[in-house]
């Protein structure tokens, strides 16, 4: 089964003489319930492709299917609802809101969805405990270590039971030990929860965790 299918995806930045192709026609299939790494050097188009898969960036050409849904046919509102229910994201900068507690940050996707806060919190606690930060629920994210913040961001991505988890450079700010711990969690999401995990990285230390590796180079898939 295919989780994400890209057909001839192209994306350009700038206009006129400054127009640059970030993606030059991406044909890609990301298998369901696998951990896929999207790797490539800086400027290869990884971030652009990830943004398109997250549906926060619209391709200029080509078709995108996520779990069989043709994203090109959806308007912005429909995409927002789709994102909320199907895609969990862990950003490289994490973006945990410092004014909220860890628990409030984690339940944010459900708050956006309009779900009852106490029920959302009940759902969040086991996830936080599973990620070993159950004792940090009432802390401010600023009181957490980088590794703990990473886990809080992962917990937030898991909250809406999304089948697709997209992670942007999850290990870039972590040492080897914490990087491996983070990848173990993501791997566990695939094996235990049957989720599809897509990781954008150029950290070769974590390649061994991958079920599937996609190489991106100069806006095209390599090989």
């Amino acid at each position: 089964m295919i989780a994400v299918k890209c057909k001839g995806i192209k994306k350009f930045y700038g206009e006129g003489e400054n127009k640059t192709a970030a993606l030059k026609g991406i044909d890609l299939e990301i298998p369901e319930k696998k951990l896929t790494l999207l790797v490539g050097p800086s400027g290869s188009g990884k971030t652009t492709l990830m943004s398109i898969i997250q549906t926060i960036l619209t391709p200029d050409e080509g078709d995108l299917f996520i779990f069989g849904h043709h994203m090109n046919t959806m308007n912005e509102l429909e995409k927002a609802h789709f994102r909320n229910e199907n895609i969990g994201v862990v950003f490289q900068a994490l973006y945990l809101i410092p004014a909220l507690t860890v628990l409030e940050n984690v339940i944010l996707p459900l708050t956006i969805k309009g779900e009852n806060e106490s029920k959302a919190k009940e759902k969040a606690i086991p996830i936080l405990e599973r990620l070993h930060i159950g004792n940090k629920v009432h802390c401010s994210p600023t009181q957490l270590s980088r590794g703990q913040q990473q886990r809080a961001a992962i917990a937030r991505a898991l909250m809406n039971d999304s089948k697709l988890i997209v992670c942007d450079e999850p290990t870039s700010a972590l040492d080897q030990e914490h990087g491996h711990a983070c990848m173990s969690i993501l791997k566990d999401l695939v094996s235990s929860d049957n989720r599809t995990v897509l990781v954008i990285t150029h950290d070769h230390r974590i390649f061994s965790f991958a079920d599937h590796i996609v190489n991106l180079n100069d806006g095209l898939i390599d090989g």
Partner: protein, 381 residues
């Protein structure tokens, strides 16, 4: 998301306090200046407020306000009295006469002469007996003058207020304080003195009058009575409200309205510049989190609600603090000569300006939100 918006708002305490302070200052300036302005305007027509019994006032057509009064012959009174459905009509004189106290204080007093028979126009007395006005030289003095302006300085430096029975001199005539009353002060710190008309005539040497006040019978056609008064080109009949407007319109020719407008404008500029700018910076600071909300499935409408809610919260707090301090100020100066008038409509007016500031604040931020691209979260790492 409203709770999240609130937490994001108070999360940055310095900005939160800064925005509230900006709105507070703006509201304080607008409401306080408005209250002072309204106080001054209401003082301009205080004769109408102080003498509330009549519903019709007759003046010379040239009369505009207390600084521009043309007197009328006393016999005009008979004309007004003769109009059908006029229940009663009495003269009121208004003159500025020199006043001297035994301790040597010299000033100019505002002297109101009231009808000998009816005493219409005499304010409620704080002390004394109204019948004592008929005693030779009997006058009623305003309480502020008795306690402050004309108070006797004792040898030890303390001030002793004038009391009933104390003697004064008005235009060279000896008078005695027969009563003390609370009156609306004028623009200048001048004593306000009430006496019977016959005594005013004796003191001033003229029997001309400045106002005729009249009361119409119940269910009478007031406009028809005014038309009949105005058919005499030497008289102008007005209702109490019309006279208030005429006097205040004359007063506004001093340019005070422009000064007041400038004060309100300054308040708005303070609101826009301090509150608007800090709120905008706060939104910029939180921009990545709004982008996050968008990326996690939030809509622009949702973020718009959050911004508007934040603007409403700071606006409401700033408004309550601003009007609260203005009201406290009004309470603190109650009974003094400082002007202050705070009708409930002023709450609405100040609220309106606070809403304008909040809309400006929110609009600045919302512009940024609508241009927000969650893709920035992937790029700005």
């Amino acid at each position: 998301m409203i709770l999240t918006a609130f937490k994001m708002l108070i999360g940055n305490k310095a900005a939160f306090i800064g925005v509230i302070f900006g709105i507070f200052l703006a509201v304080l300036l607008i409401s306080q200046q408005s209250a002072i302005y309204l106080g001054l305007v209401s003082r301009s027509y205080r004769i109408v407020t102080n003498i509330s019994a009549p519903n019709i006032w007759v003046i010379d057509p040239a009369t505009q306000g207390e600084d521009l009064i043309r007197s009328m012959p006393k016999d005009y009174l008979q004309y007004v009295k003769s109009i059908p459905n006029v229940e009663w009509a009495v003269p009121v004189t208004y003159l500025l006469l020199p006043l001297t106290t035994p301790s040597g204080i010299f000033t100019v007093s505002e002297v109101y002469g009231v009808d000998d028979k009816t005493l219409v126009g005499i304010p409620n007395l704080l002390e004394g007996n109204i019948q004592d006005l008929y005693r030779n030289g009997g006058v009623i003095l305003d309480s502020n003058s008795a306690e402050n302006l004309l108070a006797i300085t004792l040898p030890n430096g303390e001030k002793a207020p004038l009391k009933l029975g104390d003697a004064l001199e008005i235009n060279g005539h000896r008078v005695v304080v027969a009563g003390i009353a609370k009156t609306t002060p004028g623009f200048f710190p001048q004593p306000v003195v009430f006496m019977i008309n016959s005594q005013v005539e004796q003191f001033s040497g003229t029997n001309r009058i400045q106002y005729i006040v009249a009361k119409t019978r119940e269910n009478a056609d007031v406009q028809a009575i005014l038309n009949q008064i105005n058919s005499n080109k030497n008289m102008l009949g007005l209702t109490s409200k019309q006279l208030e407007s005429r006097i205040s319109d004359h007063f506004l020719k001093t340019g005070i309205l422009i000064n007041y407008g400038i004060s309100v404008l300054l308040g708005m500029i303070i609101g826009f510049s301090i509150a608007g700018q800090i709120f905008y910076i706060m939104t910029l600071h939180n921009l990545c989190y709004y982008a996050l909300i968008k990326a996690l499935g939030g809509t622009e409408a949702m973020i718009l609600k959050m911004i508007v809610f934040q603007a409403v919260v700071v606006g409401t707090i700033g408004y309550i603090l601003g009007t609260g301090v203005t009201l406290l100020w009004g309470f603190a100066i109650k009974g003094t000569t400082l002007t202050f008038e705070f009708p409930w409509q002023l709450l609405l007016l100040t609220g309106f300006f606070a809403v304008i500031i909040c809309i400006f604040m929110a609009a600045l931020s919302v512009r940024k939100i609508f241009r927000l691209d969650p893709h920035m979260l992937m790029v700005n790492t």
